[in-house]
Subunit: 201 residues, 2 copies
C-alpha cells in the first residue's frame, strides 16, 4: 500500500479556501480532513473526534512534549494543534490528508513534515479580494479594511509553500489541486522502490 500525501493548505483572510476544499472533497474520495485538537470547551453540537479532539491542557502539553503534534499554537488562552497519530494512520492506509493551517505555519510544517505538499491559495488581485469581501455584505467598512490589511501581511508568506493556486474560477482552482495531488504521486522520490518492482515482475 502506497503512503498517502499530506496536503497542507493555507490562504490569506477571505481567500476562498473553504469553497475550494469543499469542492475538492466532493470530487476526490481518497481525501480526509485532519482534525485539530483543542483545549477549549466544546460548543453545542460539536463532536469529539469529528470537529475537534477536545482535551485538557495537560493532555495537550503531553502530546506536544512527546513530539506527537504536527504543529500547534495558542489563541486567546486556548491551545490548538494537529495530533500526528490520526494523520499518520490515514497516510499509511494510502489516504491523502488535508491539513489547514494559517499562513504563518508554512515554514514550520515543512520542517516537521518534510514530505508534505504545501499549497498557498491566493486571490487573483487585491481588487477582487476587496470586491468579494464587500459582496458578502456581512462586514462593515472597518472590518473590510482590517481584512485587506491582514491579507497584505499574509500574502508574502506564499514563498514558504510549494505551490500557489489562484482562486479565480473555482473549477480551475480545484483542477489545480487535483493535478498537484496526482503529479506528486508520480514523483520519483515518492516511488524509490518502483523500478525494482518492475524488474522483478
Amino acid at each position: 500500500m502506497k503512503k498517502g500525501i499530506l496536503l497542507v493548505v493555507s490562504a490569506p483572510s477571505a481567500g476562498g479556501k473553504g469553497t475550494i476544499l469543499k469542492e475538492l472533497f466532493r470530487q476526490d474520495g481518497n481525501l480526509r480532513m485532519s482534525v485539530s485538537a483543542t483545549t477549549r470547551q466544546p460548543r453545542p453540537g460539536e463532536e469529539n473526534g469529528k470537529d475537534y479532539y477536545f482535551m485538557s491542557r495537560e493532555e495537550f502539553q503531553e502530546l506536544v512534549a512527546g513530539g506527537r503534534m504536527l504543529e500547534h499554537a495558542e489563541y486567546v488562552g486556548n491551545c490548538y494543534g494537529t495530533p500526528r497519530e490520526p494523520v499518520e494512520e490515514w497516510l499509511a492506509q494510502g489516504l491523502d490528508v488535508v491539513l489547514e493551517i494559517d499562513v504563518q505555519g508554512g515554514a514550520q510544517i515543512k520542517r516537521l513534515a518534510p514530505d508534505c505538499v504545501s499549497v498557498f491559495i491566493t486571490p487573483p488581485s487585491m481588487e477582487v479580494l476587496e470586491k468579494r469581501l464587500r459582496d458578502r455584505g456581512t462586514e462593515d467598512d472597518e472590518t473590510v479594511r482590517k481584512r485587506l490589511a491582514a491579507a497584505r501581511e499574509e500574502l508574502p508568506h506564499a514563498e514558504d509553500y510549494d505551490y500557489i493556486v489562484v482562486n479565480d474560477r473555482l473549477e480551475d482552482a480545484v483542477e489545480d489541486m487535483l493535478a498537484i495531488l496526482r503529479s506528486e504521486k508520480r514523483k520519483y522520490v515518492r516511488n524509490p522502490g518502483f523500478v525494482q518492482q518492475v524488474l522483478n515482475r
Copy 2:
C-alpha cells in the same frame, strides 16, 4: 507572458512513449515537439525544420562549441542534438516543449536545463513489456530478448528523472502527463513575482 515548460521524456525500449505522446499532443494544444538537428542525409519525404534540422558536421560542431545545443550525441557516425534556440523561443512564447531523449540523457539534461521537468515512462512490469513485444509480431525471439535486456539496463536510469509515469492504461498515463504539466506551472519557484502582482492590482 509566462514561460513554458520544457518537458523531457524518456522511456526504455518499447516503453510505449510514442503512443502516449501522440495522445498528449492531441489533448494539449499548448505543446510543441522539439526538432533535432542531425548530420545524416535526409531520407525521402523528410522535411528540414520539421523532421530534423539537417546540417553539415561543421555547422553542428559550431552549435555545440557555442553552447547552443541542449544535448547531443553521436550514433553510427552521425551527430544528433537539440538546438537550444528554437526551444527557447517556444518557451518564451509560453508554449510547452517536449524533448525526447534516450534514458541515458536524464542526468545530462538536468545539468544543461535545470528548470526542465523530466519524466521517465516505464512499463508496469517486465512481463507486460515482453508480452507487448511479442504481440507486435514484428520481432523474432532474438530481438525480443535483446530489447528486454536493454530495458533491464535502462530502467534504473529512472532515478535521474523527476517523475515516473507507468504505461499501463493509456488514459491514465496521459492524464498523469497533463497533471504534471499543470501542477509544475503552479510551483512557487516558477511564479516568483506573482504575489507582488496580486498586491499591486
